[in-house]
Amino acid sequence: MTIAILAVQGAFYEHGEILRKLGIEHFEIRQQSDLNKHFDGLIIPGGESTVQGKLIRELNLYDTLKEKILQNLPVFGTCAGLLLLAKQISNDEKTHLGTMNITAVRNAYGRQLGSFSTDGNFKGIGTVPMTFIRAPYIEQVGENVEILAEYNGKITAARENNQLVTAFHPELNDNLSIHRYFADIVENNA
């Protein structure tokens, strides 16, 4: 199994470290030629969604990535990655890959002073640490979307077929369980 990590901006290195701990092969996507390599799953990391959204277009990654995701490539988006996958962003007219049937709210907890960490229940896993950094949440989900975690009544993790998103950052903690959960999706898809 090989997982590609979108590495145009943000905390891509941290995802790589977690995959390394899990013994999963991985490489970074920074430009079009990187898409020629084979990969079974894709991680879109945290960072700034405006920057990543712009760079995937201008570095000609957009069409291929979107096509692969629509053809069921397993994808895992954290924070900005969630925003890149969201079909709608209620406080931003600009959407990006827009492949997942969710409506997200950007910077939903305000500025950095609103950032926080907590422990919460993740469906099918149990209690996991959750770190929210200028995080979004999911306001609304489509009919085939399964809700996996909530915090204070707001959806913070969800799955639609092979697309997995979290508003928080599992890559910032030592807990490997959510990445393992994604690896299982990739494994079952093969």
Partner: protein, 290 residues
């Protein structure tokens, strides 16, 4: 380490691989955001103009900073003077995302830096070497940048600071366990921080390059030398075509090893900011705060 410090370190991790741009108006902030800045630094005058104007340079008008906060959706940073904790309290009160305790402004205290652990908002500080970086982290900085020499368009000092820091990190990494105590003493830093660098081969927080970056090639140089992202101050809005230059620097930071792409990005950018050599300047800002 407190939970807040962890969260503040985490925000810097999200900025990695990105470009933080100095802006002086909401319009410039929008241009920077559109060009792909991962954050903006709101200030009344960019370093080149501070240098030209001379005199005492202070924290910007909060109203001006708020105007920029309203104009963009990306994180907004602002500068306070070294040691001026009251300015920092004001910036925290307007919910700034990051405070730069900066040598670009006139220092308010020539002995003490701000006790940054007393704040909930994160701080980034400049450093010329490993000792300075770890002292700032010990005071509570959750992000480090090289000092470079702001407002000059001359990258030589940023290169010097980053190279020195990296070489000191490599040296510390090579020491045996019982040698770390003496190394900490010489660096004038707490043992625990020296030990962290020894064990991990890097700073405990994110490290950006700053000061004198003016071209995509400058940005690529700093990234190849080990910076995790770059600040561009005067280099963008003092140049002929800010939008194009800003966007090119953003892409150069993502693909900093691809010389062919860097060549394309460096084409037709219009005039770069006028550079001043370090021998020609009167105030060495990097010497402020140690």
């Amino acid at each position: 380490m407190s939970k807040r410090f962890e969260l503040n370190k985490n925000l810097a991790q999200m900025l990695k691989g990105g470009v933080i741009m100095d802006v002086t108006t909401p319009e410039q902030a929008k241009i920077a955001e559109k060009a792909g800045a991962c954050a903006v630094m709101a200030l009344e005058r960019i370093p080149a103009d501070i240098r030209a104007a001379g005199g005492v340079s202070r924290m910007s008008d909060p109203k001006m900073i708020k105007g920029i906060q309203e104009a963009v959706s990306i994180p907004v940073m602002a500068k306070c003077r070294i040691g001026h904790f009251a300015e920092a309290q004001i910036l925290q009160a307007i919910e700034i995302d990051y405070i730069d305790e900066s040598e670009v402004l006139s220092p308010a205290d020539d002995v003490y830096h701000i006790d940054k652990r007393q704040f909930d908002v994160p701080f980034v500080c400049g450093a010329r070497d490993l000792g300075e970086a770890l002292r700032r982290i010990s005071e509570g900085a959750s992000m480090i940048r090289t000092k470079g020499e702001p407002g000059t368009g001359d990258v030589v000092q940023a290169v010097r600071h980053l190279r020195l820091m990296q070489s000191e990190i490599r040296r510390l990494t090579s020491l045996s366990e019982d040698e770390i105590y003496e190394a900490a003493k010489q660096l004038q830093v707490p043992y625990e921080l020296a030990k962290y660098v020894h064990d991990n081969g890097k700073l405990p927080v994110v490290n950006f390059a700053a000061g004198g970056v003016a071209t995509p090639a400058d940005a690529a140089l700093m990234m190849q030398l080990g910076a995790e992202g770059v600040f561009v101050g005067s280099g963008i809005f003092k140049s002929g075509n800010p939008e194009k230059r800003a966007a090119a620097i953003v892409k150069a930071v993502t693909n900093y090893k691809d010389a062919k792409l860097l060549a394309e990005l460096s084409e037709d950018l219009g005039e770069a900011m006028v550079g001043i050599n370090e021998q020609e300047i009167e105030i060495i800002m990097a010497e402020r705060g140690k």
